[in-house]
């Protein structure tokens, strides 16, 4: 089986997004895709200075992980990548995330590294309302479900409630397990 075949997908699965990453976690350690391979990952691109949507999405992510683990016995690794690396330093990110769920992996890094991963995942983000050093970041607040092969299965927007998100993730994972066992 040659390298090219790994990335073949059926026509109705949508565009292939995602890719390698090289960022810093909240302990100051380098994290790459090698650290994530083998896990189902729920990846959220956000920023700590979000007035309302950000905290709600992180709360939703934490609650969904809880439901999946307790009711479905499914372990999904929650990852928060900041699209505001200038203000979201590792120590600030650690304090922010700890208030929600310390299982969430917080990732930041130099602006170039964040730009690269945002580009790979086609995540839109833009500074708006700049007032001196303060600004908001306009972004889609999407969450991406990534399988253990680091392939993006699908994305979820803010319209998903905690229960709907847990149900949709369960469905995707169970569907994929069925495909794997038949191989």
């Amino acid at each position: 089986m040659c390298e090219g075949e790994k990335y073949e997908r059926s026509a109705n699965k949508g565009p292939i997004i995602g890719g390698p990453l090289s960022l810093i976690d909240t302990e100051g350690q380098i994290v790459t895709e090698k650290n994530l391979i083998g896990n189902w990952v729920l990846l959220y691109f956000g920023y700590t200075s979000s007035p309302d949507v950000g905290p709600a999405e992180v709360r939703k992510m934490a609650n969904t992980i809880d439901i999946l683990e307790s009711r479905q016995n499914i372990k999904v690794l929650p990852v928060f990548v900041t699209i505001d690396p200038q203000r979201d330093t590792p120590s600030h990110l650690r304090t922010y995330i700890r208030e929600f769920d310390s299982r969430i992996v917080g990732l930041t890094g130099p602006v170039a590294a964040i730009r690269q991963i945002a580009q790979e995942y086609r995540v839109f983000f833009k500074k708006i309302d700049e007032q001196g050093d303060d600004y908001l970041v306009d972004t889609s607040h999407n969450m991406y479900l990534i399988n253990p092969n680091m392939e993006v299965e699908r994305s979820f927007g803010v319209e998903y409630s905690t229960d709907e998100l847990a149900e949709a993730i369960t469905k995707e994972i169970k569907k994929s397990k069925i495909t794997n066992s038949q191989n």
Binding site: R87, T89, P110, D129
Partner: protein, 116 residues
């Protein structure tokens, strides 16, 4: 390597004004201000908030508490949201003056074209 350089240079400071306690205090001050606007909706709005929102002088104290508690960008964001909500409410409530078919002053009777 850029990553190691970033890790060693990153500040240890934490922006406490976006953490849970500060958020909750901000939301509380924000809700108190908007509740005042609802309560005093019959008064003339003379003061200027942000993004074109006006409010009556009766709510000045609430406004000051709100602006002190929340980041300026957050205040602008919530003011904008409030204005949008009000606009939608006005469109939905405006059911008497502009909606539905016009009622003609007299019942219309159709006369066949050929009177033979």
């Amino acid at each position: 390597m850029a990553l190691e350089a970033y890790s060693s240079q990153a500040a240890d400071s934490v922006h406490s004004d976006v953490l849970s306690e500060a958020r909750i205090a901000c939301y509380k001050a924000r809700d108190a201000f908007y509740a005042c606007l609802e309560k005093e909706s019959d008064k003339k709005p003379t003061e200027s908030a942000s993004v074109g929102l006006l409010y009556p002088a009766e709510c000045k104290k609430n406004r000051e508490a709100y602006v002190n508690q929340c980041r300026p960008t957050w205040v602008k964001h919530f003011d904008r949201q409030y204005c949008a909500k009000k606009r939608v409410q006005r469109l939905l409530d405006d059911n008497e003056s502009r909606r539905g078919p016009l009622s003609l002053p007299q019942p219309y009777t159709f006369k066949p074209p050929c009177s033979c």
